[in-house]
């Protein structure tokens, strides 16, 4: 899960953001930073996903 494409919730000066990282060949290739408060409301409980 998170190990394959790790992400972290960070708080900078009271502002919440989620940073998701892509690692290829041992190096960071992409950094996604999401700071839209409206989009960060579902991080307290796991989402119910299945196939």
């Amino acid at each position: 899960v998170a190990e394959r494409s790790p992400a972290a919730r960070v708080e900078i000066g009271g502002q919440m953001a989620v940073v998701s990282l892509v690692i290829e060949d041992g190096r960071l290739t992409r950094i996604y930073a999401m700071a839209d408060p409206g989009k960060l409301t579902r991080l307290d409980a796991p989402a119910e996903l299945t196939r």
């Binding site: 998170a2 190990e3 494409s5 790790p6 708080e11 892509v22 690692i23 996604y32 839209d36 299945t50």
Partner: protein, 237 residues
């Protein structure tokens, strides 16, 4: 009394809608609309409720995607998918966690609405073409063609996820230590030369603290080490 099939398959239906839309809020709305439709159906006549429900949800999600994709085009800055916290129990599934990663959802964002729905149903949910055809209203040949195009498109752009699970975490740890201690040289070594930062500040502006992280920028641009940092497992899968 047996459980309503909608309730039985709710998790699956949410996942389908979320993969097609990249937004949990929109996926919830789609499930709501789909439930209303389902409630009006003569359910005794439905032979395969699961397939029927997936079809309803796909159609609703497609309609919704067509509307929101226009809005996403006008969005100021990059529009990124809504991250979800994934539970450890989906880790047994090799493909699902990757498919809901922000990286993968961002790749899916580049597909057209129909392409995306077909890709999601075919590649992630193994939906037979006969069912896809009914959901998207195209001929079987057209559906196959769309699926092939979408597959090629995704294959060209999806990140090469490492096989080993230990490696990414070690890299992240190295990176975080370098950020916290202000070791620019070390930060640069952990980042690929063509590293890209994609930031979604909510459509009004770019997030100030995350404006730049490029090796050429000052390390202060990256989230300040003084900030309280809580590591968790936001989906991003």
């Amino acid at each position: 009394m047996t459980e309503d099939p909608f309730v039985t398959h709710r998790r699956l239906l949410f996942t389908v809608a979320y993969e097609i839309l990249g937004s949990a809020a929109d996926a919830d709305d789609v499930l709501q609309e789909s439930w209303l439709r389902w409630a009006r159906v003569d359910q005794a006549q439905v032979l395969d409720p699961r397939a029927y429900l997936v079809r309803i949800v796909t159609r609703q999600a497609l309609n919704r995607l067509r509307t929101v994709s226009r809005r996403r085009e006008d969005y100021v800055g990059a529009w990124l998918p809504e991250p979800l916290l994934t539970s450890p129990d989906i880790a047994d599934d090799v493909e699902l966690p990757e498919s809901v990663s922000i990286a993968m959802l961002t790749v899916l964002e580049m597909l057209g609405p129909t392409e995306r729905a077909v890709f999601v149903l075919r590649e992630l949910f193994d939906t037979p073409y006969e069912e896809i055809v009914e959901a998207i209203g195209k001929s079987p040949d057209a559906a196959r063609q769309i699926a092939r195009r979408a597959r090629d498109h995704v294959a060209d752009r999806r990140p090469r996820m490492p096989v080993s699970q230990a490696e990414p975490l070690a890299v992240v740890e190295r990176f975080l230590v370098a950020v916290c201690t202000g070791h620019v040289q070390e930060q640069m070594e952990v980042m690929a030369p063509d590293v890209v930062l994609i930031a979604d500040g909510g459509g009004s502006c770019r997030p100030r603290a995350l404006r730049s992280t490029a090796p050429s920028g000052s390390p202060g641009c990256w989230p300040a080490p003084a900030g309280r940092r809580r590591r968790s497992r936001p989906a991003c899968g």
